[in-house]
């Protein structure tokens, strides 16, 4: 072979070498195509919008992870799929806990019929039964500072002895201990099916947190086998088992045939008429597989949904505009051309947003009138209508409308939009038409949505002469600027950690300032005092009085302007998806959804 010949064949050789070197990977992956509906297997195909941080329940604290984790793992409690407002029900527990010792001791009876999913970390590959020791193990691991950096603060100081265990783990150093070495007084397995938890004070917060994915139960054998790789081999008692995942966060799950929960037999008024109770008493989950790819861009996801490739999709602002509309009565509808094929859900989310003033700014901090003027100028309903297509509700306090003691329950009102009054206040404050006021820096992260929000506020505030300048920075410097108070205005948001208004109202306390939550650095001793009281007062009129006084304090000092709470809107095919009632609290929709495979294969008539 002469030189020229060699050159000519080079590309071919190159390809062969490349292919050969990656061959092991090709052959090791034999996942079937997601488009391949065989007409028998019930596959629920849904879209995830971003990849979660981890599939290890104790490591994650973000909505994207929780969406998947909830299908793989179980907690002791959960919330009812059909009932609103939120109702707690037992999951791995047999019944709701019994509180004794003036509410400071929680005794939890556990189910005895639950097995972990099969996996090679168990002897013989068969999942073992779930026991009380798993609860103690999992909760101790939840307190491990090297596993859980984020979510422990929710129950910090609430379970006797757990904080000390966390501290001594931290002192020992990563991986230099086993959880058995820390016997926590407040965490005891009485027998195989009973756990006793001692609290430092009478509070419902631990129960509420135990219903979340972050306190899921994990099997000790698998943790010890996979250690830091457990998140790639997640295994729990959940309704589904992980079959395939990749770097983008696409997941493929298969049904756990031994799952312990049944479809609920009672729901809200009207659920029976909608056919949501037809499967009452059936063993969950109802579908065989869940295929959930991550598609970050909204356009491809929507286009694929319209082709009938997905059984469930959430809508962002652009997608909503294309596929749905809001009528004057406040109801959401899918556009007429899709009416025969597609159904729409609208579910209120326990997430709220508000505009925070940085009180360290000399003008904003000193001039209450300026803050009031801005509060009277911000067009909240207009913002909801224009920027998020009406998928929100105006808030008058920071508490979203899904929770009790929200502004409607309290009968509380925020300032009405009143331009002439706002202009008068500006004049009184000495800034008539904005004269003498420097530009305010509106801090935001990059992206098309934050940009639109800024643009809206810039326009409205210009009406009273307040000038805004956008400061869009990288994520970490965004966080850094918030911490160091290097901004003037910011839109802050919060999603409920647990469904209690106190989770929101406490965000404006002086303590929250040290936790990096009270962005504007407001501090009011009366508010702090009331906030502490709400933590120990049981729900009822007395607690509502406290919340009301707190709301008054915020209204009179205007450290923030409450904006809106979120309504999530999404679509699902009308003809083949059943039992769909978006459950934003626990996110266990995939367990309850049933699919008519024949209709699914036929697709849309669009």
């Amino acid at each position: 072979m002469n030189r020229r010949e060699l050159i000519r064949r080079l590309p071919l050789w190159f390809i062969l070498v490349m292919l050969a070197s990656f061959n092991p990977w090709i052959s090791s992956c034999s996942c079937s195509s997601h488009g391949g509906l065989d007409g028998k297997t019930k596959i629920l195909r849904r879209v995830l919008t971003e990849k979660g941080k981890s599939l290890d329940p104790h490591q994650q604290f973000d909505a994207a992870s929780a969406d998947v984790v909830v299908m793989l793992f179980d907690s002791l409690f959960t919330t009812h799929y059909l009932k609103r407002p939120i109702e707690f029900i037992p999951n791995l527990a047999k019944s709701m806990p019994i509180f004794t010792d003036a509410g400071k001791t929680m005794t939890i009876k556990l189910r005895d019929d639950v097995r972990f999913q099969d996996g090679d970390c168990f002897q013989g590959g068969i999942g073992r039964s779930f026991r009380a020791s798993d609860v103690v193990y999992s909760f101790t691991r939840f307190a491990d500072p090297f596993i859980n950096a984020n979510s422990y603060s929710l129950i910090e100081g609430l379970i006797v002895g757990l904080d000390d265990a966390r501290k001594s783990m931290n002192a020992r150093g990563e991986g230099k201990y086993s959880y058995d070495e820390f016997s926590v007084d407040g965490l005891k397995a009485i027998d195989d099916v009973t756990v006793q938890i001692k609290l430092t004070r009478a509070t419902m917060v631990p129960l509420q947190v135990m219903a979340k994915t972050i306190m899921s139960i994990v099997p000790r054998e698998c943790i010890e086998k996979y250690r830091e790789d457990f998140q790639f081999h997640p295994l729990g008692t959940g309704a589904f088992k992980l079959k395939y995942t990749n770097r983008l966060g696409d997941v493929w799950l298969v049904r756990n045939p031994n799952y312990h929960l049944m479809y609920p037999s009672e729901g809200e008024l009207g659920d029976a008429e909608k056919g949501l109770l037809a499967d009452a008493g059936k063993r969950l989950p109802l579908v065989d597989e869940v295929y959930a790819p991550v598609i970050g861009e909204s356009q491809p996801a929507v286009l694929k949904f319209l082709r009938g490739y997905f059984d469930w999709i959430g809508l962002d602002a652009d997608a909503f505009q294309r596929l749905a509309r809001k009528t004057d009565d406040g109801q959401f509808h899918v556009k007429d051309e899709y009416k025969d094929d597609v159904s729409l859900y609208a579910a209120k989310d326990s997430t709220s947003f508000w505009l925070a003033f940085n009180l360290k700014n000399p003008n904003l901090g000193k001039s209450l009138k300026l803050r009031q003027a801005i509060a009277m100028t911000i067009n909240r309903q207009g913002f909801i209508d224009d920027i998020i297509n009406g998928r929100g509700e105006v808030l008058d306090t920071v508490v979203p409308t899904t929770l009790s003691s929200n502004h409607r329950d309290l009968g509380f009102k925020w300032y009405e939009r009143d331009l002439s009054e706002a202009k008068r206040l500006m004049k009184e404050a000495g800034f008539e038409n904005g004269s003498g006021l420097p530009e305010f820096r509106y801090l935001t992260s990059t992206g098309s949505m934050p940009q639109r929000m800024y643009e809206f506020h810039r326009r409205t505030l210009a009406e009273i002469g307040v000038k805004l300048k956008m400061e869009a920075v990288t994520y970490s410097s965004y966080l850094q600027k918030i911490d160091s108070g290097d901004f003037d205005l910011i839109t802050a948001g919060w999603g409920a950690d647990y469904p209690d208004p106190e989770n929101f109202t406490s965000l404006l306390t002086t303590y929250a300032r040290t936790q990096g939550q009270n962005y504007g650095s407001w501090s009011n001793s009366r508010y702090d005092e009331l906030s502490d009281k709400t933590k120990i007062t049981p729900p009822g009129p007395a607690r509502d009085e406290l919340f009301k006084e707190m709301a008054q304090l915020v209204r009179s000092d205007v450290p923030i302007v409450p904006l809106y709470s979120v309504i999530r809107v999404g679509l699902f095919p009308k003809n083949w998806v059943r039992n769909f009632k978006r459950d934003l609290e626990s996110g266990r929709d995939a367990l309850h959804i049933d699919i008519d495979v024949k209709r699914q294969k036929e697709g849309f008539s669009l």
Binding site: R4, M18, H34, E228, R247, L248, D250, T474, Q517
Partner: protein
Amino acid sequence: MIQYIFRRLLQMIPILIGVTVLIFCLFTFFGEDPARVALGSHATPEKIAALRAKWGLDRPLIVQYLQFWREILTADFGRSFVTGEKLSSVFSQGAFVSLCVTLPPFVMGTVLNIAVAMLVAWYRGGVFERFMSVIFTACMSVSYLVYVIILQYFLAYKLDIFEINGFIPGYKGIAFLFLPWVITMIVQFGPDVRLYRSILLEETRADYVRTARAKGLGEGKVMFKHVLKNAMIPVITYTVVEVPFLVMGSFVLEKYFSIPGLGDLLVSSVNTGDFPVIKGVTIMIAVAYAVFNLITDVLYAAVDPRVKLS
């Protein structure tokens, strides 16, 4: 020859040192703080410090830099800060996926574009050449992003010719790759044809071509036997150097079509401050770039007797 290769490999060392220092400085001093990004908006300074300590970001800079070299020499970059995955498997899978997207259109496109360039060179000086030069300049002038958005919308959604988005490993996944392939080939068309045309035209002006014509050889024989063969040398030089960047893939395509390749990985790692990934990918590319440059030079010498390696 062996000596030459050896010397060239030695010359890689200062360049690698430069690359490591550059990357290290850029991302240690100015990049996103991975601990802060990982912990989100409600992190206390203690939590951040603890996480930084866990990742060894609190050690003296020189120790961190030397650690970087240890990672290079052992080819083990540890685990990703963000996902905790082992990087060796992340890289090999990512590189494979990226190659799935870039290699086929690269090969097909190169062959096709050389053919088009031949045509242009054949009809040089005429209306066809002028027409074609407007066409390929036009092709080059459309933004990559516009291609992606418009073609996805029309070809995949409106006309239903291709899959809209997604990626599946294995044979069934090929259907998902057609559109990225088409886009890659269209994007490549303009610059490639322009380059090959100028190479071919250069050759047609060479003395040996004049000689060949003078001795009465037909234009076809001149083009294929002489011009094309000789033009292959610069063409190969150009294409081989491109190969390392094929491994990195196209981050725009990967982001838009949800393909888990290296390009998307690299860009998202910059945003999350995932330093191990950045280090690994950069070094991989730098080494590959140097190696393929060397291969080009050796090939050059192998093919062209006038070139001596010294």
